[in-house]
């Protein structure tokens, strides 16, 4: 079982990518998956969480996710005690940042940094980083294939938006695919 926790702010598409990853794993790879947001009220700009559970066997447990294998932070202003907690031994943090090394003193977990905001500005012309961060997570974790993610994107968005996001995901994936299983802090 892979457990992934996503951190973002309301409106950044944090839960959307938690869901796209679940769709890629289940609909396109025959695995089992649950994707859910933090439960309760929702507000734009407020810190929000998304969760994705992926397994090769049916998932019956629906209790809260306590310990994760991967934590993905879309907005680096959210890096702090609560976003750094609950990561398993050997777990990885994927952070949208230009300066991943600045977070090393805060955790003993592996940090992978990617400047998703700049890549999103290049491809979309807007600082919407969720799909770039999904590409980085998939590159680092190998939890699903890039093509499954692209299929999920095409299934969920209108064609022009889907193609732009497929490009964006692939770009982030290419930048980070060498980082899989490397025991070091990396930037882009």
């Amino acid at each position: 079982m892979f457990e992934i926790r996503w951190h973002g702010r309301g409106g950044q598409g944090c839960f959307t990518v938690a869901r796209l990853l679940g769709m890629a794993a289940s609909v396109h790879e025959g695995k089992y998956s649950l994707a859910f947001p933090s439960f309760g009220p929702e507000r734009r700009g407020a810190p929000v969480l998304g969760f994705t559970r992926i397994s090769v066997t049916p998932i019956t447990d629906r209790s809260m996710v306590d310990q994760c294998d991967y934590v993905v932070i879309l907005d680096e202003t959210l890096v702090g005690p609560s976003s750094l907690a609950g990561i398993r031994d050997g777990g990885v943090l994927v952070i949208n940042t230009k300066v991943p090394e600045s977070y090393v003193p805060m955790t003993n977990r592996l940090i992978v940094g990617i400047d998703a905001t700049s890549i999103a500005m290049d491809v979309l012309g807007r600082p919407i980083t969720n799909t770039a961060m999904l590409g980085a997570l998939v590159a680092v974790s190998g939890v699903v294939s890039l093509s499954s993610v692209q299929k999920a994107l095409r299934q969920s968005m209108d064609p022009s938006m889907a193609e732009k996001n497929c490009t964006l995901v692939a770009k982030a994936y290419e930048l980070k695919k060498e980082d899989r299983f490397h025991g070091k802090t990396t930037g882009s």
């Binding site: 869901r19 679940g22 769709m23 289940s26 609909v27 089992y32 998956s33 649950l34 994707a35 859910f36 947001p37 439960f39 309760g40 009220p41 998932i59 019956t60 447990d61 629906r62 209790s63 809260m64 306590d66």
Partner: protein, 394 residues
């Protein structure tokens, strides 16, 4: 088996909306409330885009939602509504009207706790407060079961032997807001399983009669007829589930689903989505050689007294996990279950675990502690009858 379904990755709320579209109701009358909102929004979109040919009534309250649904059902329309929490309570006055008039309205209830304190998350206090309203009640474990039970609900409710409204419960957020893969049945299979609703119990200019009758001295007989027909519902549920399995390939175990109960020394009974966590813990404890079992109570009305007594007669300790509390006594499911069990010759030790109120997490570790306590009871250890799970006060 008919046409294969289509695999979709959707939430519990969306699964209910898709099931409603497949069931082809004539009238939807609903008022939005978290965490049911997405369901009624989707259905409203289906009506707007023409993929569901129905009348959607945007009403101003839950009381009006059910009142309008009752009016639609009174002219023979297949009708759907959905609510949650305080909305269900606001609607409560109309529920016995519907069941007494024998209108087979299907309602989704997204289980959410009751105020005060005002809260959004899930427990079963809302629907269990309406056990005596004369409605059938089922509780679902996942989005697929929710979808399948909406479709089955119409078949069961509209059966001429039943003619009783049907409440499909799914845990707020835990099911309504969680996305998972669901097999979306083909429309032609649903049409085969669920033919259009035809009834003589309706207002008809060619055959004038009163509906929603008034009665004085006959009241008792009307109510007893409801009870006698409700007693036929278990048989109809079994028939309908068998036919559903033949077409769609899925079944859920009737009134109570038994999991590893045959040789269990301790059995826990659950309702709704927490069953899945208990399932995972039973699997783990069985691997360790611990003789634990699980029974998922699916229907609270009609109440599966015989099934529960049967399980109780075969085990040493039985726990009931209530996500509710009747303040001043104990959990509502426990009261019902113990009444069923007291009939048998040597009843097991019975413990009421109360947890998950207001959406409080019930972790696998909490669940393991529940089973450990049940195993201790099975060995004869004494203790409190009512125990609170993961509560931060005494």
């Amino acid at each position: 088996m008919g046409m294969p379904g289509r695999k979709v990755f959707i939430s519990g709320d969306e699964a209910v909306a898709e099931a409603v579209r497949l069931a082809r109701p004539n009238v939807i009358s609903a008022y939005p409330i978290t965490p049911q909102t997405v369901t009624v929004e989707r259905i409203s979109e289906f009506v707007e885009d023409g993929s569901l040919k129905a009348e959607y009534l945007h009403v101003e309250s839950e009381h009006s939602a059910m009142s309008a649904a009752l009016g639609a059902a009174a002219v023979g329309a297949r009708t759907f509504t959905a609510t949650s929490s305080q909305g269900l309570l606001y609607m409560a006055e109309t529920l016995p009207y519907v069941s007494g008039a024998r209108f087979p309205i299907v309602m989704m209830n997204a289980n959410r706790t009751l105020a005060t304190p005002w809260a959004l998350l899930s427990d079963h206090r809302d629907s269990l407060s309406q056990l005596d309203s004369g409605w059938i009640q089922v509780y679902c474990e996942n989005a697929q079961e929710a979808m399948d039970m909406i479709i089955q609900a119409y078949r069961i409710a509209e059966d001429p032997r039943v003619m009783t409204p049907f409440m499909v419960n799914l845990d707020g957020f835990i099911l309504t807001h969680t996305y998972e893969m669901v097999d979306l049945p083909a429309q032609e299979n649903v049409d085969r399983f669920l033919p259009p609703y035809r009834t003589a119990n309706r207002m008809d200019l060619d055959d004038p009669k009163t509906v929603c009758y008034a009665a004085l001295d006959d009241y008792m007989e009307f109510h007893l007829k409801q009870e006698l027909d409700m007693r036929k519902v278990p048989g109809v549920i079994e028939e309908v589930e068998l036919e559903f399995k033949g077409i769609f390939g899925r079944s859920y175990g009737g009134l109570v689903e038994k999991y590893c109960c045959e040789d269990a020394e301790a059995v826990l009974m659950t309702l709704g989505s927490v069953t899945g966590t208990a399932r995972a813990v039973v699997d783990a404890m069985r691997m360790e050689g611990k003789m634990v079992g699980l029974a998922k109570i699916r229907f609270m009305r009609p109440f599966p007294a015989a099934e529960i007594a049967g399980i109780a007669g075969n085990t040493k300790a039985m726990g009931i996990l209530d996500r509710d509390l009747s303040v001043g006594y104990e959990g509502i499911v426990f009261t019902n279950a113990r009444s069923a069990v007291c009939e048998i010759e040597s009843p097991p030790r019975m413990i009421n675990f109360i947890g998950g109120l207001g959406g409080r997490n019930i972790s696998k570790e909490d669940m393991r502690q529940i089973f450990d306590q049940l195993m201790q009871a099975a060995r004869g250890e004494q203790g409190e009858r009512v125990r609170f799970v993961n509560a931060r006060c005494e």
